[in-house]
Protein backbone atom coordinates (compact mmCIF):
# COMPACT_ATOMS: atom_id res chain seq x y z
CA UNK A 1 0.00 0.00 0.00
CA UNK A 2 1.50 3.34 -0.97
CA UNK A 3 0.76 6.90 0.11
CA UNK A 4 -1.71 7.45 -2.70
CA UNK A 5 -4.00 4.69 -1.55
CA UNK A 6 -4.14 6.12 1.93
CA UNK A 7 -5.19 9.58 0.80
CA UNK A 8 -8.61 10.59 -0.34
CA UNK A 9 -7.95 11.21 -3.99
CA UNK A 10 -9.71 12.20 -7.19
CA UNK A 11 -12.68 10.17 -8.24
CA UNK A 12 -13.42 8.96 -11.74
CA UNK A 13 -17.19 9.45 -11.81
CA UNK A 14 -19.58 10.86 -9.29
CA UNK A 15 -20.21 13.93 -7.18
CA UNK A 16 -17.91 16.00 -5.00
CA UNK A 17 -19.59 18.27 -2.48
CA UNK A 18 -17.08 20.92 -1.54
CA UNK A 19 -17.04 23.89 0.88
CA UNK A 20 -19.23 22.23 3.44
CA UNK A 21 -19.02 24.06 6.78
CA UNK A 22 -16.43 22.27 8.90
CA UNK A 23 -18.13 19.65 11.02
CA UNK A 24 -21.23 19.28 8.85
CA UNK A 25 -20.05 16.50 6.53
CA UNK A 26 -21.69 13.73 8.51
CA UNK A 27 -25.03 15.53 8.33
CA UNK A 28 -24.64 15.87 4.57
CA UNK A 29 -24.02 12.14 4.38
CA UNK A 30 -27.11 11.53 6.48
CA UNK A 31 -29.26 13.79 4.30
CA UNK A 32 -28.07 11.95 1.22
CA UNK A 33 -29.38 8.77 2.78
CA UNK A 34 -25.99 7.14 2.77
CA UNK A 35 -25.81 4.30 5.26
CA UNK A 36 -24.44 0.79 5.49
CA UNK A 37 -26.87 -0.40 2.80
CA UNK A 38 -25.44 1.79 0.09
CA UNK A 39 -22.95 0.33 -2.34
CA UNK A 40 -21.39 3.56 -3.62
CA UNK A 41 -17.92 4.43 -2.39
CA UNK A 42 -18.15 7.49 -0.15
CA UNK A 43 -15.17 9.45 1.13
CA UNK A 44 -15.46 12.07 3.79
CA UNK A 45 -12.79 14.64 4.50
CA UNK A 46 -13.21 16.84 7.54
CA UNK A 47 -11.40 20.00 8.64
CA UNK A 48 -9.54 20.38 5.39
CA UNK A 49 -7.56 23.68 5.24
CA UNK A 50 -9.25 26.09 2.84
CA UNK A 51 -8.56 29.59 1.60
CA UNK A 52 -12.20 30.56 1.52
CA UNK A 53 -13.09 29.68 5.05
CA UNK A 54 -10.79 28.46 7.80
CA UNK A 55 -11.43 24.80 7.31
CA UNK A 56 -14.05 22.90 5.39
CA UNK A 57 -15.44 19.44 4.91
CA UNK A 58 -15.66 17.57 1.62
CA UNK A 59 -17.85 14.60 0.70
CA UNK A 60 -17.17 12.51 -2.40
CA UNK A 61 -19.73 10.05 -3.68
CA UNK A 62 -18.51 7.81 -6.46
CA UNK A 63 -20.70 6.74 -9.38
CA UNK A 64 -23.60 8.89 -8.30
CA UNK A 65 -24.68 12.22 -9.80
CA UNK A 66 -26.82 14.05 -7.31
CA UNK A 67 -30.34 14.99 -8.31
CA UNK A 68 -31.45 18.57 -7.73
CA UNK A 69 -33.82 17.79 -4.88
CA UNK A 70 -30.93 16.18 -3.03
CA UNK A 71 -28.87 19.30 -3.64
CA UNK A 72 -31.62 21.49 -2.20
CA UNK A 73 -31.48 19.55 1.01
CA UNK A 74 -27.74 20.05 1.28
CA UNK A 75 -28.14 23.80 0.90
CA UNK A 76 -30.04 23.83 4.17
CA UNK A 77 -26.95 22.87 6.16
CA UNK A 78 -24.11 23.83 3.81
CA UNK A 79 -25.11 27.22 2.40
CA UNK A 80 -21.61 27.79 0.95
CA UNK A 81 -21.40 24.33 -0.56
CA UNK A 82 -20.52 23.58 -4.16
CA UNK A 83 -21.62 20.53 -6.10
CA UNK A 84 -19.15 19.19 -8.64
CA UNK A 85 -20.28 16.51 -11.04
CA UNK A 86 -17.34 14.38 -12.18
CA UNK A 87 -17.19 12.27 -15.33
CA UNK A 88 -13.96 10.50 -16.25
CA UNK A 89 -11.93 12.60 -13.76
CA UNK A 90 -13.23 15.85 -15.29
CA UNK A 91 -15.49 18.34 -13.53
CA UNK A 92 -18.27 18.61 -16.08
CA UNK A 93 -20.58 20.69 -13.95
CA UNK A 94 -19.93 22.92 -10.97
CA UNK A 95 -22.78 24.57 -9.11
CA UNK A 96 -23.10 26.51 -5.91
CA UNK A 97 -25.85 25.04 -3.83
CA UNK A 98 -28.85 27.27 -4.17
CA UNK A 99 -31.62 27.34 -1.67
CA UNK A 100 -34.96 27.60 -3.45
CA UNK A 101 -37.65 30.03 -2.23
CA UNK A 102 -39.66 27.14 -0.88
CA UNK A 103 -38.49 23.86 0.64
CA UNK A 104 -40.89 20.97 0.29
CA UNK A 105 -40.88 17.68 2.17
CA UNK A 106 -37.27 17.84 3.43
CA UNK A 107 -37.90 19.58 6.74
CA UNK A 108 -40.35 18.56 9.44
CA UNK A 109 -42.30 21.36 11.12
CA UNK A 110 -41.23 21.61 14.78
CA UNK A 111 -44.78 22.54 15.75
CA UNK A 112 -46.45 19.32 16.79
CA UNK A 113 -49.87 20.88 16.35
CA UNK A 114 -49.18 21.82 12.72
CA UNK A 115 -51.48 20.35 10.06
CA UNK A 116 -48.36 19.20 8.19
CA UNK A 117 -47.62 16.76 11.03
CA UNK A 118 -50.86 14.83 10.56
CA UNK A 119 -52.14 12.14 8.20
CA UNK A 120 -53.38 14.75 5.74
CA UNK A 121 -52.20 14.16 2.17
CA UNK A 122 -49.78 17.09 2.12
CA UNK A 123 -46.03 17.58 2.18
CA UNK A 124 -44.36 19.89 4.63
CA UNK A 125 -43.54 23.21 3.03
CA UNK A 126 -41.37 26.06 4.23
CA UNK A 127 -40.72 29.50 2.88
CA UNK A 128 -37.04 30.45 3.01
CA UNK A 129 -36.99 33.80 4.81
CA UNK A 130 -33.21 34.00 5.16
CA UNK A 131 -30.51 32.12 3.27
CA UNK A 132 -27.44 32.38 5.49
CA UNK A 133 -28.01 31.58 8.28
CA UNK A 134 -30.96 29.60 7.04
CA UNK A 135 -34.31 30.69 8.45
CA UNK A 136 -37.53 29.01 7.40
CA UNK A 137 -41.22 29.62 7.97
CA UNK A 138 -43.85 26.91 7.73
CA UNK A 139 -46.39 27.93 5.09
CA UNK A 140 -49.12 26.16 7.05
CA UNK A 141 -48.75 27.15 10.70
CA UNK A 142 -46.52 30.21 10.11
CA UNK A 143 -44.01 29.07 12.76
CA UNK A 144 -40.39 29.90 12.03
CA UNK A 145 -37.26 27.80 12.33
CA UNK A 146 -34.64 30.40 13.11
CA UNK A 147 -31.72 28.24 14.18
CA UNK A 148 -30.39 24.68 14.02
CA UNK A 149 -32.29 23.89 10.85
CA UNK A 150 -30.34 20.64 10.54
CA UNK A 151 -32.12 19.23 13.58
CA UNK A 152 -35.43 19.45 11.74
CA UNK A 153 -34.43 17.62 8.58
CA UNK A 154 -36.48 14.49 8.08
Amino acid sequence: MNDKDLRVGSIKDGTVIDHIDAGSALKVVQILGIDENIEDIVSIAMNVPSAKTKTKDIVKVEDRELASDEVDKIALIAPEGTINIIRNYEVIEKNKVNLPKFIKEVVRCPNRNCISNTDEPIKSEFQVINKNPVKLRCVYCERAIEQNVSEHIK
Binding site: I115, Y140, E142, E146
Partner: protein, 307 residues
Amino acid sequence: MKFSGSDVISMQEFSKEGVFEVLSHAQRIKEEGPRVDLSGLVLANLFFEPSTRTKLSFETAMKRLGGEVISIDSVRASSIKKGETLADTVRVIEGYADGLVLRHPKEGAAKMAARFVDCPVINAGDGSNEHPTQTLTDLYTIWREKGRIDGLNIAVMGDLKYGRTVHSLVIPLSMFDVNLFLISPPQLEIRSEILNDIKRNKADIHKSSFIESLIGDIDILYATRIQEERFADPNEYEKVSGSYKIDKKLLNGAKKDLILMHPLPRVDEINPEVDQLDAACYFEQSANGVTIRMALLEMILGGVLDE
Protein backbone atom coordinates in the same frame (compact mmCIF):
# COMPACT_ATOMS: atom_id res chain seq x y z
CA MET B 1 -57.19 43.68 -2.72
CA LYS B 2 -59.25 41.16 -4.65
CA PHE B 3 -61.99 39.72 -2.50
CA SER B 4 -64.46 38.17 -4.93
CA GLY B 5 -64.02 34.41 -4.75
CA SER B 6 -60.97 34.76 -2.50
CA ASP B 7 -59.97 32.99 0.71
CA VAL B 8 -59.45 34.72 4.04
CA ILE B 9 -56.76 32.67 5.76
CA SER B 10 -54.30 34.97 7.48
CA MET B 11 -53.91 38.64 8.36
CA GLN B 12 -50.43 38.36 6.81
CA GLU B 13 -52.22 38.52 3.45
CA PHE B 14 -53.95 41.83 4.20
CA SER B 15 -52.54 45.17 3.13
CA LYS B 16 -53.54 48.25 5.10
CA GLU B 17 -55.72 49.26 2.13
CA GLY B 18 -57.32 45.81 2.13
CA VAL B 19 -58.19 46.19 5.79
CA PHE B 20 -59.84 49.55 5.13
CA GLU B 21 -61.80 48.19 2.19
CA VAL B 22 -63.41 45.70 4.56
CA LEU B 23 -63.94 48.25 7.36
CA SER B 24 -65.55 50.84 5.11
CA HIS B 25 -67.74 48.23 3.51
CA ALA B 26 -68.86 47.09 6.96
CA GLN B 27 -69.62 50.69 7.87
CA ARG B 28 -71.77 51.06 4.77
CA ILE B 29 -73.72 47.95 5.72
CA LYS B 30 -74.17 49.33 9.24
CA GLU B 31 -75.56 52.57 7.84
CA GLU B 32 -77.44 51.47 4.74
CA GLY B 33 -78.06 47.77 5.16
CA PRO B 34 -76.95 44.92 2.90
CA ARG B 35 -76.20 45.64 -0.75
CA VAL B 36 -76.55 42.19 -2.23
CA ASP B 37 -78.93 39.30 -2.00
CA LEU B 38 -77.15 36.00 -1.46
CA SER B 39 -80.31 33.88 -1.75
CA GLY B 40 -79.59 30.65 -3.54
CA LEU B 41 -76.08 30.51 -2.07
CA VAL B 42 -75.06 28.08 0.67
CA LEU B 43 -72.34 28.67 3.25
CA ALA B 44 -70.90 25.61 5.03
CA ASN B 45 -69.84 26.12 8.64
CA LEU B 46 -67.28 23.42 9.48
CA PHE B 47 -66.46 23.59 13.16
CA PHE B 48 -64.08 20.91 14.35
CA GLU B 49 -63.77 22.68 17.66
CA PRO B 50 -66.51 24.07 19.85
CA SER B 51 -67.34 27.72 19.25
CA THR B 52 -70.71 29.29 19.81
CA ARG B 53 -70.00 32.90 18.99
CA THR B 54 -68.04 32.61 15.78
CA LYS B 55 -70.32 29.93 14.39
CA LEU B 56 -73.51 31.82 15.21
CA SER B 57 -72.19 35.12 13.91
CA PHE B 58 -71.32 33.58 10.53
CA GLU B 59 -74.75 31.97 10.45
CA THR B 60 -76.45 35.24 11.30
CA ALA B 61 -74.41 37.15 8.74
CA MET B 62 -75.22 34.71 5.93
CA LYS B 63 -78.93 34.62 6.83
CA ARG B 64 -79.17 38.41 6.98
CA LEU B 65 -77.90 38.43 3.42
CA GLY B 66 -80.58 35.97 2.36
CA GLY B 67 -78.29 32.95 2.06
CA GLU B 68 -78.49 29.46 3.52
CA VAL B 69 -76.17 27.81 6.02
CA ILE B 70 -75.27 24.16 6.52
CA SER B 71 -73.02 23.16 9.36
CA ILE B 72 -71.00 20.48 11.07
CA ASP B 73 -70.59 21.00 14.79
CA SER B 74 -67.68 19.75 16.82
CA VAL B 75 -69.47 16.59 17.99
CA ARG B 76 -70.33 15.35 14.52
CA ALA B 77 -67.00 16.60 13.23
CA SER B 78 -65.13 14.36 15.63
CA SER B 79 -66.84 11.29 14.23
CA ILE B 80 -65.83 12.36 10.73
CA LYS B 81 -62.32 12.96 11.90
CA LYS B 82 -61.82 9.32 12.77
CA GLY B 83 -62.38 8.01 9.30
CA GLU B 84 -61.58 10.82 6.94
CA THR B 85 -58.92 13.39 6.32
CA LEU B 86 -59.80 17.06 6.40
CA ALA B 87 -58.65 17.25 2.79
CA ASP B 88 -61.39 14.77 1.86
CA THR B 89 -64.05 16.37 4.04
CA VAL B 90 -63.64 19.81 2.50
CA ARG B 91 -63.69 18.38 -1.02
CA VAL B 92 -66.96 16.61 -0.25
CA ILE B 93 -68.55 19.68 1.34
CA GLU B 94 -67.39 21.84 -1.56
CA GLY B 95 -69.87 19.86 -3.63
CA TYR B 96 -72.70 21.16 -1.41
CA ALA B 97 -71.71 24.72 -0.71
CA ASP B 98 -70.49 27.96 -2.27
CA GLY B 99 -68.11 28.84 0.53
CA LEU B 100 -66.53 27.16 3.55
CA VAL B 101 -65.96 28.54 7.03
CA LEU B 102 -63.46 26.41 8.94
CA ARG B 103 -62.56 26.22 12.61
CA HIS B 104 -60.00 23.48 13.30
CA PRO B 105 -57.65 22.62 16.18
CA LYS B 106 -54.60 22.17 13.93
CA GLU B 107 -52.53 25.17 12.93
CA GLY B 108 -52.52 25.67 9.18
CA ALA B 109 -55.78 23.72 8.65
CA ALA B 110 -57.51 26.52 6.74
CA LYS B 111 -54.46 27.11 4.57
CA MET B 112 -54.44 23.44 3.68
CA ALA B 113 -58.20 23.29 3.05
CA ALA B 114 -57.94 26.23 0.66
CA ARG B 115 -55.44 24.28 -1.42
CA PHE B 116 -57.87 21.43 -1.90
CA VAL B 117 -61.00 23.32 -2.91
CA ASP B 118 -61.82 25.97 -5.48
CA CYS B 119 -64.53 27.69 -3.47
CA PRO B 120 -63.58 30.42 -0.96
CA VAL B 121 -62.36 29.28 2.47
CA ILE B 122 -62.64 31.55 5.49
CA ASN B 123 -60.43 30.74 8.47
CA ALA B 124 -62.52 30.87 11.64
CA GLY B 125 -59.57 29.88 13.83
CA ASP B 126 -56.77 27.36 13.28
CA GLY B 127 -55.30 26.12 16.56
CA SER B 128 -53.39 28.90 18.25
CA ASN B 129 -52.44 30.43 14.94
CA GLU B 130 -54.91 32.95 13.51
CA HIS B 131 -58.47 34.18 13.60
CA PRO B 132 -58.68 36.85 10.90
CA THR B 133 -62.41 37.60 11.00
CA GLN B 134 -62.13 38.30 14.73
CA THR B 135 -59.25 40.64 13.94
CA LEU B 136 -61.20 42.53 11.30
CA THR B 137 -63.99 42.84 13.88
CA ASP B 138 -61.50 44.23 16.40
CA LEU B 139 -60.05 46.71 13.92
CA TYR B 140 -63.53 47.79 12.91
CA THR B 141 -64.44 48.35 16.56
CA ILE B 142 -61.34 50.47 17.19
CA TRP B 143 -61.91 52.47 14.02
CA ARG B 144 -65.60 53.05 14.76
CA GLU B 145 -64.99 54.10 18.33
CA LYS B 146 -61.99 56.33 17.68
CA GLY B 147 -62.49 57.37 14.05
CA ARG B 148 -58.91 56.35 13.31
CA ILE B 149 -56.26 53.79 14.15
CA ASP B 150 -53.11 55.85 13.51
CA GLY B 151 -51.89 57.79 16.48
CA LEU B 152 -53.43 55.57 19.15
CA ASN B 153 -51.78 53.96 22.16
CA ILE B 154 -53.00 50.38 22.11
CA ALA B 155 -52.33 47.79 24.80
CA VAL B 156 -52.86 44.09 24.14
CA MET B 157 -52.83 42.20 27.40
CA GLY B 158 -53.01 38.62 28.64
CA ASP B 159 -51.97 35.38 26.97
CA LEU B 160 -49.94 36.63 24.03
CA LYS B 161 -48.28 33.27 23.41
CA TYR B 162 -51.19 30.96 22.70
CA GLY B 163 -54.01 33.39 21.92
CA ARG B 164 -54.84 33.29 18.22
CA THR B 165 -56.84 36.49 18.36
CA VAL B 166 -53.70 38.23 19.57
CA HIS B 167 -51.51 36.80 16.80
CA SER B 168 -53.92 37.93 14.14
CA LEU B 169 -54.44 41.34 15.71
CA VAL B 170 -50.88 42.53 16.27
CA ILE B 171 -49.92 41.90 12.64
CA PRO B 172 -52.20 44.54 11.10
CA LEU B 173 -51.91 46.88 14.11
CA SER B 174 -48.16 47.02 13.58
CA MET B 175 -48.74 48.43 10.08
CA PHE B 176 -50.26 51.54 11.64
CA ASP B 177 -48.53 54.47 13.28
CA VAL B 178 -49.41 53.34 16.80
CA ASN B 179 -47.72 52.68 20.11
CA LEU B 180 -48.36 49.01 20.69
CA PHE B 181 -47.94 47.81 24.26
CA LEU B 182 -47.64 44.03 24.66
CA ILE B 183 -48.50 43.18 28.24
CA SER B 184 -48.14 39.61 29.44
CA PRO B 185 -46.50 37.48 32.10
CA PRO B 186 -43.01 36.40 30.98
CA GLN B 187 -44.27 32.82 30.44
CA LEU B 188 -46.92 34.01 28.00
CA GLU B 189 -44.93 36.50 25.95
CA ILE B 190 -45.57 36.78 22.25
CA ARG B 191 -43.64 34.29 20.08
CA SER B 192 -40.34 35.59 18.76
CA GLU B 193 -41.18 35.16 15.07
CA ILE B 194 -44.31 37.27 15.43
CA LEU B 195 -42.41 39.89 17.43
CA ASN B 196 -39.68 39.98 14.75
CA ASP B 197 -42.31 40.39 12.05
CA ILE B 198 -44.13 43.24 13.69
CA LYS B 199 -40.91 45.02 14.71
CA ARG B 200 -40.15 45.47 11.02
CA ASN B 201 -43.36 47.45 10.59
CA LYS B 202 -44.34 50.99 11.43
CA ALA B 203 -45.60 50.70 14.99
CA ASP B 204 -43.50 51.32 18.09
CA ILE B 205 -43.55 48.13 20.10
CA HIS B 206 -43.20 48.12 23.89
CA LYS B 207 -43.19 45.02 26.10
CA SER B 208 -44.23 45.01 29.71
CA SER B 209 -45.48 42.67 32.43
CA PHE B 210 -47.82 45.09 34.15
CA ILE B 211 -50.63 47.42 33.17
CA GLU B 212 -50.80 49.71 36.23
CA SER B 213 -48.05 52.14 35.23
CA LEU B 214 -49.33 52.39 31.64
CA ILE B 215 -53.06 52.68 32.15
CA GLY B 216 -53.07 56.50 32.10
CA ASP B 217 -51.58 56.65 28.59
CA ILE B 218 -53.66 54.06 26.82
CA ASP B 219 -56.49 54.67 24.33
CA ILE B 220 -57.42 51.03 23.70
CA LEU B 221 -57.04 48.24 26.22
CA TYR B 222 -57.51 44.85 24.59
CA ALA B 223 -57.70 42.15 27.23
CA THR B 224 -57.58 38.41 26.62
CA ARG B 225 -58.07 35.41 28.83
CA ILE B 226 -55.19 33.81 30.71
CA GLN B 227 -55.81 30.10 31.14
CA GLU B 228 -54.61 28.46 34.30
CA GLU B 229 -53.55 25.34 32.41
CA ARG B 230 -50.83 27.31 30.63
CA PHE B 231 -48.91 27.40 33.91
CA ALA B 232 -46.97 24.44 35.25
CA ASP B 233 -47.09 25.91 38.75
CA PRO B 234 -50.49 27.01 40.12
CA ASN B 235 -48.73 29.50 42.42
CA GLU B 236 -47.22 31.17 39.38
CA TYR B 237 -50.68 31.49 37.90
CA GLU B 238 -52.04 33.04 41.08
CA LYS B 239 -49.21 35.55 41.08
CA VAL B 240 -49.75 36.78 37.54
CA SER B 241 -53.51 36.44 37.20
CA GLY B 242 -54.03 39.06 39.90
CA SER B 243 -52.19 41.67 37.89
CA TYR B 244 -54.53 41.27 34.90
CA LYS B 245 -57.86 41.86 36.62
CA ILE B 246 -59.62 44.87 35.23
CA ASP B 247 -61.86 46.64 37.71
CA LYS B 248 -63.16 50.13 38.46
CA LYS B 249 -60.14 50.85 40.63
CA LEU B 250 -57.72 50.23 37.77
CA LEU B 251 -59.82 52.22 35.32
CA ASN B 252 -59.93 55.21 37.70
CA GLY B 253 -56.44 55.96 36.51
CA ALA B 254 -57.35 55.63 32.85
CA LYS B 255 -58.03 58.23 30.17
CA LYS B 256 -61.65 59.40 30.10
CA ASP B 257 -62.19 57.97 26.63
CA LEU B 258 -60.39 54.65 27.11
CA ILE B 259 -61.99 51.80 25.17
CA LEU B 260 -61.90 48.37 26.80
CA MET B 261 -62.13 45.40 24.44
CA HIS B 262 -62.16 41.63 24.89
CA PRO B 263 -62.79 38.87 22.30
CA LEU B 264 -64.97 36.99 24.83
CA PRO B 265 -65.62 34.67 26.51
CA ARG B 266 -64.16 36.27 29.60
CA VAL B 267 -63.70 34.42 32.86
CA ASP B 268 -62.61 36.83 35.54
CA GLU B 269 -60.28 39.21 33.70
CA ILE B 270 -62.95 41.89 33.66
CA ASN B 271 -64.97 42.51 36.77
CA PRO B 272 -68.70 42.76 35.88
CA GLU B 273 -68.78 46.12 37.70
CA VAL B 274 -66.95 47.50 34.66
CA ASP B 275 -69.74 46.54 32.22
CA GLN B 276 -71.77 49.68 32.94
CA LEU B 277 -68.86 52.06 32.27
CA ASP B 278 -68.57 53.93 28.98
CA ALA B 279 -65.21 52.25 28.44
CA ALA B 280 -66.76 48.77 28.22
CA CYS B 281 -67.02 47.96 24.53
CA TYR B 282 -66.87 44.16 24.37
CA PHE B 283 -70.53 43.47 23.69
CA GLU B 284 -70.58 46.02 20.89
CA GLN B 285 -67.35 44.48 19.62
CA SER B 286 -69.08 41.12 19.57
CA ALA B 287 -72.07 42.52 17.65
CA ASN B 288 -69.70 44.14 15.17
CA GLY B 289 -68.58 40.60 14.34
CA VAL B 290 -71.81 40.04 12.43
CA THR B 291 -71.40 43.25 10.44
CA ILE B 292 -67.82 42.42 9.49
CA ARG B 293 -68.79 38.91 8.43
CA MET B 294 -71.65 40.29 6.36
CA ALA B 295 -69.19 42.64 4.69
CA LEU B 296 -66.79 39.78 3.94
CA LEU B 297 -69.53 37.53 2.61
CA GLU B 298 -70.85 40.31 0.37
CA MET B 299 -67.36 40.93 -0.95
CA ILE B 300 -66.33 37.29 -1.32
CA LEU B 301 -69.56 35.56 -2.37
CA GLY B 302 -71.48 38.57 -3.74
CA GLY B 303 -68.57 40.18 -5.57
CA VAL B 304 -69.40 43.59 -4.14
CA LEU B 305 -66.71 46.27 -4.52
CA ASP B 306 -64.87 44.43 -7.26
CA GLU B 307 -64.42 46.20 -10.60
